[in-house]
Symmetry: C2
Subunit: 349 residues, 2 copies
């Protein structure tokens, strides 16, 4: 198929370029369709509240490696990352639909483990599993999750609505999931070379959990509501802070200044990055899968959020013409670039 020189290799487009290409001419026609492609979730009119709908596809060999991913964790994560998309709209999830395609090398017991993890995550966050599809695949496992969430109209937050000189906040800490992944990949290599080698994972629980069992930050949504703060914009961090802040700024037509010293990094993440000879803040900026929330808050709300332990203020928005930059610890201004995870160029994985 690629022999014809007029055809375009998929790798020439990133995931977002391809989505843009495929969806740019779509015009919404039904009045229940409030917002289509382009945010963490679509928005549907649902009577006295808004419904947000998001869907994600997890592919064996691309998004997860069955060698070191326990199926129960995988099920938990498949749900968690979808709930994170709903949290990113300042909404709360209530239903999921789960479709799986599995090759016959999996046993019924293995699939039950996968579902046990899914149900655990659903239970923890009060979500109902209401439907789905189960089929076989020729090879590998595919998990498609669709999640339905809800928010009052005045609570819903998009990624395109950041104001000027808003505070940029991020929940939790960053880079941990990526360090967990590098650690698991390293120990897999060691194991494959000599199966008598035991993996060295002791004392690395935090970063392993960040990779294998992320939690959607619905607690942050609760805190914001309690503090009576509606963020001016929000997105979840699945592809790395740099990539997501660029997304948010581009869609909001704003620039930004982030402070390197303000980026929250856990000590285990920090130590592991040093061990891998990676600058810890680079891991935090470009490592994916943290599923923390990145949001902007009007300066007028500063007093309401300044004592919140769940998130950090890491910068502010500027006029679009000022671009997106990082102020380094030694006070240099460098342009932010997205080097996040891209499913179409496996080298970046």
């Amino acid at each position: 198929m690629l022999e014809n020189k007029n055809l375009t290799n998929l790798n020439e487009y990133g995931e977002f370029g391809l989505i843009d290409l495929l969806t740019k001419d779509i015009k919404l026609k039904n009045k229940s369709s409030v917002l289509g492609v382009g945010d963490d979730a679509a928005i549907i009119d649902s009577g006295d509240r808004l419904q947000v709908v998001s869907t994600d596809l997890l592919v064996e060999g691309i998004h997860f490696d069955i060698h070191y991913t326990p199926l129960r964790h995988l099920g938990y994560k498949a749900i968690a990352v979808n709930l994170s998309d709903i949290a990113a709209m300042n909404a709360r999830p209530e239903q999921v639909l789960v479709s799986i395609a599995i090759s016959s090398r999996y046993t019924v017991e293995a699939i039950q483990e996968l579902y046990a993890g899914m149900k655990l995550c659903c239970e923890r966050y009060g979500v109902d599993l209401v439907g789905g599809d189960t089929t076989s695949s020729v090879s590998g496992m595919f998990i498609s999750v669709t999640v339905l969430g809800y928010a009052k109209k005045e609570q819903l937050v998009k990624r395109s609505t950041a104001g000027l000189k808003d505070l940029i906040c991020v929940s939790g800490d960053l880079g941990g999931a990526y360090m967990g992944l590098l650690l698991l990949e390293r120990e897999k290599e060691v194991f494959l070379k000599d199966p008598s080698n035991q993996p060295e994972l002791e004392g690395k629980d935090y970063i392993l959990e960040r990779q294998l069992k992320p939690e959607p930050r619905l607690d942050v949504i609760d805190v914001l509501e309690k503090q009576k703060v509606v963020p001016t914009s929000m997105i979840d961090i699945s592809d790395g802070l740099a990539s997501e802040v660029l997304h948010l700024c581009k869609d909001s037509h704003k620039g930004c200044r982030l402070y390197e010293e303000k980026i929250p990094i856990d000590t285990q993440t920090y130590d592991m990055a040093i061990e891998f000879a990676i600058t810890p803040s680079v891991a935090a900026l470009n490592g994916g899968e943290d599923y923390e929330l990145l949001f902007t808050v009007a300066q007028a709300d500063y007093d309401k959020i300044k004592d919140c332990m769940e998130f950090s203020i890491i910068g502010y928005t500027t006029d679009e013409s000022e671009g997106c930059s990082l102020i380094t610890k030694d006070d240099k201004l460098i342009e932010l670039k997205a080097q996040g995870w891209n499913a179409f160029t496996k080298e970046n994985k």
Copy 2:
């Protein structure tokens, strides 16, 4: 994984057995979750109307063969079969979300073809494509579609609510999609043996279209509304009439009598079945993918539907104790058995 004798091979469960096993302990907690797993779609409370949500996963090599499936048709069909699930609830679709995983052997142009077919089907049925996910796969193509539809509370129809001595109706005609599949498979074999052979598809447009480009029967929903008839139960025919009528009867706790001579079969389907030495009514009973609607109507509504050209009355419901039977053309009573398509036992494909 299968070496341990205590583990269960997936093939021992059918698709429905596995879904039952995985979902039997689920209890719905949110009041917006009206109906969970077990019908053509889940039901969500959505203010003054009900929302129905369904999701389907199409897998290359299992659900479609890229050798003879034009990508534009595949895109169209992926949407159409999901809209059919919404029609089966007596509801109307308004939004879809589409996720695809594709290997890098596909070009951007190929994916655009796929989307062109999806958009065509969306356009034709007034549906908005509002979201999705695009990622790569290690091999093959996976398409996951989620559809959102709506109905007034008094219009929505489940598969579990057929009454006693209701009329059993089926839209269009049956067995055509299966005959189209057998024809395509035969011509593929001929072509693979000697690529200079041209496929013999002339005059077979109808059954090929039934297989490659099915239409959701939303026109039947319109006719029923116009006639002011709300079916007492409904399901769409994806796995063959026998399998679906057994589903509907089991969930409604009823038996049934179907008349073989009443089963609608197109002449092209009939002739092709004879050519393949298959009894035409067996093709209609067990061939999958017709995406027609199977529904029951109270006898009191007979006058309202007796002149409808869009569907045929093929039997009636009985007490559950009488079982589900077919009355053959030579007046024998034989028990109905499901021999429909099962994604986990490829022999049945």
